[in-house]
């Protein structure tokens, strides 16, 4: 838990840095970098979801994990189809790298946990993760996306992150009881 909170704190600092840089027009991510952030953000949650589907100790946690795999896979299929059509090659960047590292850390932490401890750590991370991605969508991705179709895709999938965040919070509340 400590490590996941810590990695989340680091991500917040990085995200904050990206926003601060956003004040200077040229400093925000370009479309190729945004594409990479979108695909990575989805992939990270697919990986954690697969683990929860297998290791979750309650039906709610297992179902939520399965749904994360389904929903984020669907979003990624659409994202990959669009970047292929636009002939944009996703470009690694500090935000996508930190997402990837945070995701790997989370999976590592979760692999060492069982039962209720696993459920709690997974769901807590899902709440933090979806909030973090929403912040990135609003403060970095949408304001910086140049291509209208790429921007439209991000706008279109944003409600899914909101719904997942709310759903994760609902499960988080039941786990506390």
């Amino acid at each position: 838990m400590k490590s996941s909170i810590f990695s989340f704190a680091i991500l917040l600092i990085i995200a904050g840095g990206a926003v601060a840089q956003g004040a200077a027009p040229a400093a925000g991510p370009n479309d190729a970098q945004i594409a990479s952030i979108v695909v990575t953000a989805n992939q990270v949650d697919i990986d954690a979801g697969k683990l929860a589907e297998a290791k979750g100790s309650t039906p709610d946690v297992k179902a939520f994990g399965k749904q994360m795999v389904t929903d984020h896979s669907g979003v990624n299929q659409q994202a990959v189809a669009l970047v292929t059509k636009l002939k944009v090659t996703p470009e690694d960047n500090p935000t996508s790298q930190s997402l990837k590292a945070g995701g790997a850390d989370n999976v590592k932490t979760l692999q060492g946990l069982q039962g209720a401890a696993f459920d709690k750590a997974y769901v807590d991370h899902e709440v933090a993760y979806h909030q973090q991605v929403l912040d990135a969508i609003d403060k970095t991705l949408i304001p910086n996306a140049k291509n209208e179709e790429l921007k439209a895709l991000i706008v279109k999938v944003r409600p899914a992150f909101v719904a997942h965040l709310e759903h994760a919070k609902m499960i988080q509340a039941t786990l506390r009881k």
């Binding site: 749904q67 389904t70 929903d71 896979s73 669907g74 979003v75 299929q77 659409q78 279109k156 999938v157 944003r158 409600p159 899914a160 909101v162 719904a163 709310e166 759903h167 609902m170």
Partner: protein
């Protein structure tokens, strides 16, 4: 035949009015008053951005409602214990004929914050 037509004209004063309605319809006027309202209608609810659009819909018994999923992942239209679309895949449509009157609050079992209402009169 002519005699029969004469009978109708003499005893049914609505006939000329019916003729007018038919003419009006032929000219492209709104025909809903001419009995078309009794025919079952079809409605569409679009599922997009993890929401039902429109979220509230009123129909008459016998009408058909089609839920079209435009999100890249599945959704459901579920009234627990009453009707259930089960998973509507991305890009798919689920149709439901509203047979029983009542107000039905439905949800997506996959995204519990998605809510809609179908009122059947």
């Amino acid at each position: 035949m002519i005699a029969v037509a004469g009978e109708v004209n003499r005893h049914d004063r609505t006939a000329p009015r019916a003729l007018l309605v038919v003419l009006a319809c032929a000219l492209g006027a709104t025909c809903s008053a001419a009995g078309a309202a009794d025919k079952p209608r079809s409605y569409t609810v679009v599922i997009e951005g993890v929401a039902y659009q429109p979220a509230e819909l009123a129909v008459k018994r016998g009408d058909t409602v089609a839920w079209v999923n435009k999100d890249p992942f599945p959704h459901t239209v579920t009234v627990p214990g009453t009707f259930d679309s089960h998973e509507i895949a991305a890009g798919s449509t689920w149709k439901y004929v509203a047979r029983n009157a009542g107000t039905y609050a439905y949800i997506c079992t996959l995204h519990p914050n998605m809510k809609g209402t179908l009122a059947v009169q």
